[in-house]
């Protein structure tokens, strides 16, 4: 028994020592960027690829911070919270990265956020849009100031979505009543609260019924029947997990009520093939840039390089976070050049706050990659969004890009943006069986 233990120990010790050997020799004078997020999902891949293209561009231009090359190390989270924390620790304590770019979802980001505050590593998030994280930055700036979120937070998304309700659903379509169908996740619950607060007073649309469903629901027929029985003008769906189930059953059931809302599955170009062409008539809110979004010259160039590099490997069109990762990398390194590196942190944060990439199309502001500064108040909602991307939720959208657009899938598999009007290149449509 004693020998057992000793033998076990010996095995463990060998394992530990060989593990603690320095990581594979990397040139001492590289700058290390860490990616944290899923490796396999389309959204995760979008962030990775956006980052890779930015790194290629920066390295080809002679490197950064005095001619050093950027090296990318990746840590998989499998969209698991504890795994995300381990990945964050790994990037910091084994790989000693200088900067982290993330494609994490809500609970995973919330998981490693405390490690970020401990290591004080500059971190740019590109996928989660949870305003709770921005609120942490607002409330405890010193603790969380190394955090930047390069996608408009859910609160801003919902605000603009209400305008869509007012301008298109209420005014153009003449709809006055809605049934909201919402999955029982914290994300959807948060969005519902916002919509409830503003939809009725601002867009004059009455919520007849609010249905919360379990994400594992197999058969949505009873739920759709219940919704249709209230005779609303339309159904508003908020779905981020297993979105294809309610969406495809809506089509298969030919529910006699139009439906729009948030459907995360419909954000990628693969939605058409993944849903076997059942996606016609589906519309969804999307952060920008999205499918169907008219690209400015610079973003089009990015997309061309993306296509050349990744070809047919899905996602063939990067999700919004692919673009955001690319521009965010350029921001972060431009800030680092001015600050003399990512350390000292305060200097870099200050320069990152000064970053401002304005992209025009036909002489108008089209996209903007800048951040809300501490203390800066957004006029419409009258609150702070420190370190969130600088969005604009009031026409004519000249302070930044809008927080979101509404994209529409047509029954021929094409997509376009239908709102806001400045970005619209197609018309809002109901499914064929309702026409």
């Amino acid at each position: 028994m004693l020998r057992n233990i000793l033998a076990g120990l010996a095995v463990a010790m060998v394992a530990i020592w060989s593990l603690s050997a320095p990581p594979p020799a990397s040139a001492a004078d590289t700058v290390k960027v860490g990616y944290i997020g899923s490796f396999d999902t389309d959204t995760g891949k979008s962030t990775i690829r956006g980052t890779e293209i930015a790194i290629e561009e920066l390295n080809a231009a002679g490197g950064v911070l005095g001619g050093r090359m950027i090296e990318l190390v990746k840590a998989d989270t499998r969209e698991d919270v504890a795994e995300g924390i381990r990945a964050y620790e790994y990037l910091n304590e084994v790989e000693n990265v200088d900067f982290i770019i993330s494609g994490s979802i809500d609970d995973v980001s919330l998981g490693w956020l405390e490690r970020m505050a401990e290591y004080r590593t500059p971190t740019l998030d590109t996928w989660t849009s949870f305003i709770g994280i921005i609120d942490k930055v607002v409330e405890d700036y010193d603790k969380y100031k190394m955090y930047f979120m390069n996608v408009a937070c859910d609160f801003a998304l919902a605000m603009l979505y209400v305008d869509f309700g007012k301008d298109v659903l209420a005014k153009d379509m003449g709809w006055k009543t809605v049934v909201v169908m919402q999955e029982d996740t914290a994300f959807a619950g948060g969005v519902y609260e916002l919509i409830e607060q503003v939809l009725a007073p601002e867009a004059n649309i009455k919520i007849l019924e609010h249905i919360v469903y379990d994400i594992n629901t197999v058969d949505f027929a009873p739920i759709y029947n219940k919704a249709a029985a209230s005779k609303p003008d339309f159904i508003y769906l908020i779905s981020s997990v297993r979105s294809q189930v309610p969406a495809s059953q809506y089509v298969k059931l030919e529910v006699p009520v139009p439906m729009t809302g948030i459907n995360v599955a419909a954000l990628g170009k693969e939605f058409w093939t993944d849903s076997g062409g059942l996606g016609g008539g589906i519309s969804t809110l999307s952060p920008i840039p999205s499918l169907g979004f008219e690209l400015d010259e610079r973003s089009a160039d990015f997309y061309a390089r993306y296509q050349a590099k990744y070809g047919d490997a899905r996602p063939i069109f990067p999700h919004f976070n692919g673009f955001n990762a690319y521009y965010g990398m350029l921001n972060a390194f431009a800030a680092a050049e001015r600050a003399g590196g990512f350390a000292p942190l305060d200097k870099w944060v200050e320069e990152m706050e000064n970053e401002d990439i304005v992209i025009e199309k036909d002489g108008e502001m089209w996209l903007r990659y800048a951040f809300w500064k501490p203390g800066e108040i957004e006029p419409r909602t009258n609150r702070e969004y420190t370190h969130n991307i600088k969005f604009d939720i009031q026409p004519p959208y000249d302070q930044g890009a809008p927080s979101m657009v509404v994209i529409q899938w047509y029954s021929d598999g094409s997509t376009s943006v239908v709102y806001p009007p400045k970005y619209a290149n197609g018309k809002f449509e109901v499914p064929d069986w309702l026409k």
């Binding site: 490796f39 698991d80 998981g111």
Partner: protein, 315 residues
């Protein structure tokens, strides 16, 4: 105390000394990995004392860990209860949860019991989403929970101490008459009964000890992570990791789960630089499957037989 026990205690001492000196030679990155191994070892030992010993297979350990984690997280984060109070409260709550486990065990065993514990885990998962999501944080969970200490080295010592003390106590426990009676339950519950022992009391004791260990582990785990979310805890993958650590190491031995936890955590981290993505988990699963199918008694017995071979060779 007999001679072998003393000799083996020497082994524990040596193990403790070596692990305490480790931070002098290895990097903080390695310590972070070992911290997870310590938590896994605690969870696996908790499973082992219940399932490895008595043969009542629990598929619901995340249920116990989740009770502990959520209790201390909610008390300390939402209500500002100091953690030296919230952690004991969490352990107590977990022991109540352990009793819930125990009720079905009075009437059913084996596979049926496993099913029931799986249902328990699923119930708690559903509850965190539906019942009072404002308190539990719903699917996003709670983030920003107070940590006991910060930094790799202090956490390493804290978790190692917890694991070491729990391991040693459990190991001593299974060498007592109670421990032997517990494993006899696995062999033949009726025989234990007819020998005049109260199997119900014995089982209840094992369930309580297991729940207490899971409670301590779960509470410390949450205060180490600084966050808790339902998807991270009530997951078949989490259950899977705990089971595998106990079984690959060698169930019913207490030392086995510790070996298993170190082995599996190391294996995953070894693979990370080579296969950073999903391939890593695929390979990890295959290794676990092969080791388990060909050596269901675990690495512990593998080492034991290796030692026997060696000593035969010598003599």
């Amino acid at each position: 105390m007999d001679k072998t026990t003393l000799k083996l205690l020497g082994g524990w001492l040596l193990f403790g000394v070596i692990m305490c000196l480790l931070p002098l030679v290895v990097s903080t990155g390695t310590l972070r990995i070992l911290i997870f191994a310590h938590f896994l070892a605690i969870f696996a030992m908790s499973w082992d004392i219940l399932s490895g010993r008595t043969g009542y297979i629990s598929f619901g350990h995340p249920f116990l860990i989740g009770i502990a984690g959520y209790t201390t997280a909610i008390l300390s984060f939402r209500y500002g209860v100091p953690i030296y109070f919230s952690i004991p409260a969490a352990v107590a709550a977990t022991m109540v949860g352990g009793t819930l486990f125990f009720v079905p065990a009075l009437r059913i065993r084996g596979t049926y019991f496993a099913l029931v514990t799986l249902a328990f885990m699923e119930i708690l998962y559903q509850m965190t989403k539906v019942v009072a999501p404002k308190v539990t944080g719903g699917t996003r969970g709670i983030s920003g929970i107070e940590t006991i200490v910060t930094g790799a080295v202090p956490n390493y010592y804290l978790t190692f101490a917890a694991m070491f003390v729990i391991g040693l106590l459990l190991w001593l426990l299974v060498r007592t008459r109670i421990g032997i009676a517990l494993s006899a339950i696995q062999m033949d519950e009726e025989a234990v009964k007819s020998a005049g022992l109260n199997t119900t009391k014995l089982k209840l004791f094992a369930f309580m000890v297991s729940a207490a260990v899971a409670g301590i582990g779960g509470a410390f785990y949450v205060h180490y992570l600084g966050s808790i979310a339902p998807r991270g805890i009530f997951e078949i993958n989490f259950l899977f990791t705990i089971l595998i650590a106990a079984l690959i190491g060698g169930a019913g031995t207490i030392v086995g789960p510790i070996i298993g936890a170190y082995f599996l955590t190391m294996l995953l981290e070894f693979l990370r630089p080579v296969l950073p993505g999903m391939e890593r988990y695929f390979l990890y699963g295959i290794v676990a499957l092969v080791v388990y199918v060909y050596q269901p008694n675990g690495i512990h017995s593998l080492l034991a037989s290796a030692r026997r071979h060696l000593s035969v060779g010598k003599s």
